[in-house]
């Protein structure tokens, strides 16, 4: 009987720990700012039928994402940069409006923010 009881307690603990793990995953998603979510969506939207590379774009001899498609990433990138307190004027001064620079900058901010969220969750545990 005692053995059975211990097994039951152990099983309950195991279940509880699995549950916790799941809630941690949910938290990473839920702790993302709206600006981060929009940045995700922009990247994913490159696969939408109207945003896929055109015949002409595919004939180019460069691997660089076309300007038309980079432009799809710029609004969300700018939003994300602005959300850190950097002003529109600063963005213009630093990047000269260069789309690649804006996207790369936003990507760095995004990665930093995801790392911070992950660290916060770890320290809460």
């Amino acid at each position: 009987m005692k053995k059975l009881f211990i097994t039951a307690v152990f099983a309950a603990l195991t279940l509880a720990s699995c549950n916790n793990e799941e809630s941690a995953v949910n938290t990473v998603e839920s702790m993302k700012s709206p600006q981060m979510e929009n940045f995700d969506k922009a990247f994913k939207s490159l696969g939408d039928p109207q945003n896929r590379p055109t015949e002409e774009e595919r004939k180019r001899n460069t691997s660089e994402l076309s300007d038309r498609r980079k432009a799809l990433l710029v609004p969300a990138s700018k939003e994300l940069i602005l959300s850190t307190g950097i002003t529109e004027a600063e963005i213009t001064r630093k990047t000269n409006g260069d789309m690649s620079q804006i996207i790369v900058w936003a990507t760095q901010i995004y990665m930093q923010k995801s790392d911070e969220i992950r660290k916060n969750i770890k320290s809460e545990k």
Binding site: K44, G47, S100
Partner: protein
């Protein structure tokens, strides 16, 4: 000690410029299973570096949920990536291929191999999640455009048009990031 760490992190940052990072976003409901190839972009295209065991990026793994594959370089990936590669297959000529551990000196950031290879090609099959069973019509060879060594297209779409894949770069100054997007 501090000096060594500073030096190492500096070396790492230099390598990020040379080799460039690679990001795989898998937005599909299938697992990615396959090989990534980095190589010299000038013919005869050596050195060439490929993963030594298949890389698997599970279904629905992308920047949106932080589960994307991200390799900063051959070395740091083993420490930082969610999909660490322990060994690389390194070819220096058509007849010379060696398996190198991730921390082998030849793969040091800023070293000869890192400085002379760029992510150029991926060969993969999409498999049903958690299996090794290929999804019919979704096996892909893909290269960055203008690749003189592997002349695969840089864009792929399944016959139904429901799924597609593409490889491109985003370059800012000397910072080149290669993306493999699978939708």
């Amino acid at each position: 000690m501090k000096k060594i760490i500073t030096l190492l992190s500096f070396a790492a940052s230099v390598a990020a410029y040379a080799q460039g990072a690679l990001v795989i976003n898998n937005y599909t409901t299938y697992d990615f299973r396959g090989d990534l190839i980095a190589h010299n972009l000038i013919s005869p295209c050596y050195p060439r570096v490929a993963n030594n065991t298949p890389i698997i990026v599970p279904a629905d793994s992308h920047v949106g949920n932080g589960l994307q594959l991200q390799y900063e370089n051959y070395r740091v990936q083993f420490i930082n990536s969610l999909y660490p590669m322990a060994e690389w297959s390194v070819s220096t000529s058509a007849n010379t291929t060696n398996v190198r551990s991730w921390d082998n000196n030849s793969l040091l950031p800023g070293g000869v191999i890192s400085s002379n290879t760029k992510w150029g090609t991926a060969k993969f099959g999409m498999v049903y999640a958690g299996t090794t069973t290929n999804v019919p019509g979704f096996s892909v060879n893909i290269s960055i455009a203008g690749n003189p060594c592997y002349t695969y297209p840089d864009y792929f779409t399944t016959s139904s048009g429901l799924n597609s894949a593409e490889m491109f770069t985003i370059t800012s100054g000397s910072n080149v990031t290669a993306y493999l997007q699978i939708y």
